[in-house]
Every structure is written in structure tokens, then in C-alpha cells.
Symmetry: C2
Amino acid sequence: MRISELSERSGVAVATIKYYLREGLLHPGLTLAPNRADYDDEHVRRLRLIRALIEVGGLSIANVVQTLAAVDDESVSIHDAFGVAQDALSPATPALAPTPTSSNSPTPCTDSQLEVDRWLRRRRWKVRPDAAARTELAETLAALQQFGWGHSASLFDGLADYALEQAGLEVGYLDPRQDRSSLMEQAIIGTVAFEQAYGAIRRLALEHQSYQRFGRRRSVNA
Amino acid sequence: MRISELSERSGVAVATIKYYLREGLLHPGLTLAPNRADYDDEHVRRLRLIRALIEVGGLSIANVVQTLAAVDDESVSIHDAFGVAQDALSPATPALAPTPTSSNSPTPCTDSQLEVDRWLRRRRWKVRPDAAARTELAETLAALQQFGWGHSASLFDGLADYALEQAGLEVGYLDPRQDRSSLMEQAIIGTVAFEQAYGAIRRLALEHQSYQRFGRRRSVNA
């Protein structure tokens, strides 16, 4: 199909498709003539995956590239590709905000980093020593400590019990008999989308509980 | 204190502090002379909150401005300010990605939006009809449906039971006897940080479960 039809079928604008081609997110079509390429169902499917990673997961283009490379590289095991996706999901320092660099300031996360590492060892979770989520969790713990939410990583025990159970269900749902790329796609979308879903549901639940505690006098349309 | 001392004490670079002052995130110090202003503990505290929202919550500058305005406006009830923070946390369409605009494409979320609204009514959650998390959840549901994870919002029932219980504990932890701005700060950091913590823990749990299912043959240092 021509790029115009690919745009029709995927709902992604031609200019956006061209941008993804330039950035290497989408593999080129078959060149039929200098200004004419042929695209197929694989392109439609890949565009769907890219849009989901960007729109639902909020991934940057660079992280989408990294994730797709792991999906496509058949020498990367499913387990390792999973790890790449987990790392791609961990937020980097936002580009908008100038980073604070005071030469005298200590590394803020050393203590909480050690605390998180100890906590993971205690739970006997098999995770890479350099998994990005370790640092992310340590930063989060430091912020919670600073604002009076508690002192140790045991604060996370309830969350961890629940997350472990959910993750077991989620990984168990994946059918290893399907082809590798379908499995990887489903695994990655699950990783991204259930995290987002939980965040959204959590915020809705907080609003409801805040209404019960602080807002009863006001009228709210449910 | 001078801006250099404010930088020392908060660990935020002078250039960054000046940027926050220009953007209106930080209220100006007391002007002592044309090029000299005096800052106090309130500024240190506010800088800590701004850094946590940006680094832990991944909020954009615009969303930090919006959240802080709700914190500071005493005419906004605690419950309503909570709602503003929930909305500020819902990811907007990322600026990096050109938006797909095909004139023929249907609005992708109508069905899942209705499904999410029905689901929330069924649960009797008191949330604003225009809460940003509703749309976010609908988009997530659409992606999960598209990649074979299930068909209805009942997919989220387990997450919602757990989120409701957690949110109840979290809101219950807030002491309404403390002053309004401390309460608001703690509430907002809790919202932001526990969401991030759960995301990170979830990814660690997924890695562990993926190791159990797909990675046992490979060696992983725990």
C-alpha cells in the first residue's frame, strides 16, 4: 500500500509516519520508484505499537527506539527484552528542568539507594543490579521521607506484595506459543498500559477518598 | 538569606532558582536593593516541593505552576486542590510526538470512555465528570483491548479494589490539624510519590516474574 493508505488504515498522519521513518522507529517500505514505497500490514501493526508506547506509556522517541530494538533483535531473550522495556519506562530527568548542580550538595540518594537494595535482597527478587527502577524507587523513598511519610522501605511492603501478585498474573497471561514478536508486543503493552491504568485508577480512588474525608459538604457530580 | 545561600541550603543551582523565579514557581524574595533580594525558609521549603514534583513526579513546569497555584489559593478547598493535583499528574500528549490527525479517523476513545464512565458509576466513586484520569484510563483500556488483554473495564476490578484501600490509608494518614500548606504539600507529595513508587515496584516485580517464567536458564545477579 502507498503511504496515504497506510495513514488511512493506522490513523497516523503522513507527516508523522515520515517522521517515524526518519527517526528509525518504522522500517522503510519496499522502494518501487525513487519517490514511491510500498508498505504492508507489518507497518500498520508497528504504527499501532508506536502510538501506544507514546500515547499510553508517555515514552520519548529515544525510549521507543530502544524498546523496539529489543523487540526486533531475536538474539535478545524475551526476559532480557522485558528488562529493556522496564528501563525505557523509568522516567529520566525531565528535559525541561535545568538540573540542580551545587558542587557542595551530596549525592541525595546514597542512603535510600542502599535501603532499597537491602529491601529487594530481603524480598529475594531477581532483578538486575543496574535496573533503572531501583534508582527511581530510591529517589521516591527519599522524597517520601523528606515529607513525613515514613522512614524505611518497609513503607512499600504492601505495594510490593500486591505488585508481585499482579505481575505474576500478567506474565502468566502471556502465551509463549505465539510468535516472538506478538508475545513481545503484548508483554510490552501490558507493562506500559497496566502501569498507566493503575496510576489513573489510583488518582480516581484518591479523589473519591478525599471527597469522603474532606469534601462531603461540597456537591460533586458522580 | 542571599540567593547564593538559598542555593547552598536547597541544593538547587542559582541559575535554576532564577529560572523558577522568572516562571513564577517561586515567589520573589524581599527586595533589599535593586540587585539584592532576601530569601527565607519558605523559599527553601518551596524549592524542595518543586524539585520533588519535577524529579519524582515528572511534572512539567506548567503543571507545577498549576499545582502550586492550588496549594497557595486558600479559597480552594483541600478536596478541590487535591483534584487539581490529580489532573496535573495525568500525562498530556507528549510534545515530542506530532499528533496523528487523519480527517477520516474516528475519535478513538468514545467507546472506552463510555465503558470507563459506566464502570466508575457501578463502583459509585465520587469523581468529577471531567477528571483527567477518566480519559487517561479510557485510552489505556483501548490499548489493552487492541493488544488482546481483555475486553471490558472489569479488567481493572482487582486494581481498583486495591487502589481504593491504599487511597483510604493514604488520605487517612493526613493530619487535618496541621496547617493548610503543610497538609497540602504532604498530600501532593504522597499522590506523586506513591504513584511513582508503585510504577517502579511493579517493574521490578515484572522483571522478577519474567525471570521465573522466561529467564531461569540465564544467570542474573540478584
